[in-house]
């Protein structure tokens, strides 16, 4: 592998893979809808597909920096932003499926849902953060907010925690005894935990050393 240079050159083919890959779930959904193959409860299908994709892309975008640092893979860095933006897109579609498709924009009903269901508030928190981060992700905003921008971007970790908590609570069962269909949300929670661990400076240095010696 070539030695990464200090200035990161975006690899166009890598970016293309990310763009295409991120659009596949949407295209697939559109295709299934076109074919009338969204199942017997299309709203539920839409909510689940969009929610899962949003979480997956969010975790992938969070995995970029550790990947770059530990494996010394600078070429992946430019992928972080599009992955985060696509996650925000799917989160937005997820919310649209909920508010417009399922509840027909009936504000009274939607309000009732939010007041009665804590897991929705967690989702809302995650959504707000993702949308704010997406809107302020431009260079213009980066300049305007100066050092505040980096600080703001860090809240993506909070968004991930909220989203994974929302996921864990969206499943039918009991979280304390793990009786229920928790495989997927637990995988997401495990991945997030791992990403947090990888941010520990000690662990990061140790992994770097080991990998470089090999």
């Amino acid at each position: 592998m070539e030695q990464p240079s200090r200035r990161i050159q975006p690899k166009h083919w890598l970016l293309a893979v990310v763009h295409l890959g991120s659009l596949v779930p949407l295209a697939r959904f559109g295709w299934l809808a076109w074919q009338g193959q969204l199942g017997f409860n299309p709203v539920e299908t839409a909510l689940r597909a969009s929610g899962r994709t949003a979480v997956l892309l969010l975790l992938l975008s969070l995995a970029i920096t550790p990947l770059r640092k530990i494996l010394n893979l600078a070429i992946v860095q430019p992928l972080r932003k599009p992955l985060g933006l696509y996650s925000a897109l799917y989160a937005g579609l997820h919310f649209a499926a909920f508010a417009a498709w399922d509840y027909g924009l009936d504000l009274g009903l939607i309000w009732l849902e939010f007041t009665q269901k804590p897991f929705l508030l967690l989702g809302l928190g995650a959504l707000v953060i993702l949308v704010v981060l997406a809107l302020t992700s431009t260079r213009g905003w980066q300049k305007r907010l100066r050092s505040g921008w980096r600080w703001l971007q860090r809240s993506v970790y909070l968004a991930a925690v909220l989203a994974v908590a929302h996921y864990l609570l969206a499943v039918k069962g009991d979280l304390f005894t793990l009786q229920g269909d928790y495989t997927r949300p637990l995988l997401a929670a495990g991945a997030l935990l791992l990403l947090f661990l990888l941010r520990l400076p000690g662990l990061q240095g140790w992994l770097q050393d080991r990998l470089r010696r090999e």
């Binding site: 017997f40 409860n41 399922d102 269901k117 897991f119 009991d174 229920g180």
Partner: protein
């Protein structure tokens, strides 16, 4: 005759086709000398026919029937898989014959009923019921079966019996997810004795005039139309009369979310799904959820003096 306050939601015009087809079949069955067409028309009234002379439409909801395809392909049956649309395929080869249901506990005549006996000793009637899932969706299903109280009358509950416990089959070799450890199977459910003896409480052996397919709980299942769907245990192997409130699967796992009573009640919310409104399969938009799933008039007397928010 009582009036029909709770169930006067008209059929939506885009949904008449399956019902049309089905109604014509029902008329055909009636025409076979089972009951007059007049009885069918009169059955717009809610009174439950206790007819014993075969297939009798006991209730006409004037709401479109959910399609057979939706009823048989969108089901929760966690012993097979938690994917509602994957059950039908996985349950296809589930062996339901021979089968017997053990009825015992606090009864004078404990005994086992073979499937044959359950199908022939008890007149099978048709009951068109709403079915409301705790997940916030609903269907209208034409069941075939007989009221549970007829079975209970044969075994004669003793004076000490106050509850009924229902146990579903657990056949790990045939049920993919039964031993995954995700849930403490066998699936258990329970009713208070008076709920079990209510005429609406059905033991179903078929739907749409045909034998119950495995994914819907073949060969025999419980149907308690005023409670969330999970109360209606599938593929029953044991019915036991007991003195104290029996353990039930969902209530054991998450008592704060799944009460023992689990009566459909738009005023009692659930942490995940809306109980104020529901999504009727095959319809767009949501409709309001009815108290006791529209059977309030029939079943509210069972809960006189009880706080339904506490006993949810």
């Amino acid at each position: 005759m009582k009036d029909q306050d709770y169930r006067s939601v008209p059929v939506s015009p885009d949904e008449v086709t399956p019902q049309d087809v089905y109604l014509s079949r029902r008329k055909f069955l009636k025409g076979m000398g089972l009951a007059g067409l007049g009885a069918l028309l009169a059955s717009c009234a809610p009174a439950i026919s206790t007819g014993t002379e075969g297939l009798v439409a006991t209730e006409d909801l004037r709401e479109a029937l959910t399609s057979y395809e939706a009823i048989t392909n969108y089901v929760n049956f966690y012993e097979f898989t938690t994917n509602k649309e994957g059950v039908a395929e996985l349950a296809r080869d589930f062996v339901t014959e021979p089968w017997s249901v053990e009825v015992g506990g606090l009864v004078e005549n404990p005994r086992s009923f073979s499937l044959e006996e359950l199908r022939t000793n008890f007149a099978q009637e048709e009951r068109i019921y709403r079915m409301r899932c705790v997940e916030g969706w609903s269907m209208v299903i034409p069941w075939l079966g007989f009221p549970l109280h007829k079975l209970l009358a044969e075994v004669k509950p003793t004076g000490a019996a106050r509850y009924v416990s229902f146990e579903s089959a657990l056949v790990p070799e045939q049920m993919n997810a039964a031993s995954s450890g995700m849930f403490p199977f066998p699936y258990l459910e329970g009713l208070r004795l008076d709920e079990a003896q209510h005429d609406l409480t059905l033991l179903a052996t078929g739907l749409y005039g045909e034998t119950l397919p495995p994914q819907n709980g073949a060969p025999i299942r419980l149907v308690v139309p005023w409670k969330y769907g999970f109360k209606s245990g599938k593929s029953l192997v044991r019915i036991t009369l007991v003195e104290n409130q029996p353990p039930t699967l969902w209530n054991t796992i998450a008592p704060q979310e799944y009460g023992f009573y689990a009566n459909v009640n738009p005023a009692v919310s659930h942490p995940r799904w809306s109980q104020a409104t529901e999504r009727r399969m095959g319809e767009s938009g949501r409709r309001e959820t009815l108290l006791m799933n529209g059977y309030a008039e029939e079943v509210m007397p069972l809960y006189a003096g009880m706080d339904l928010k506490v006993n949810y």
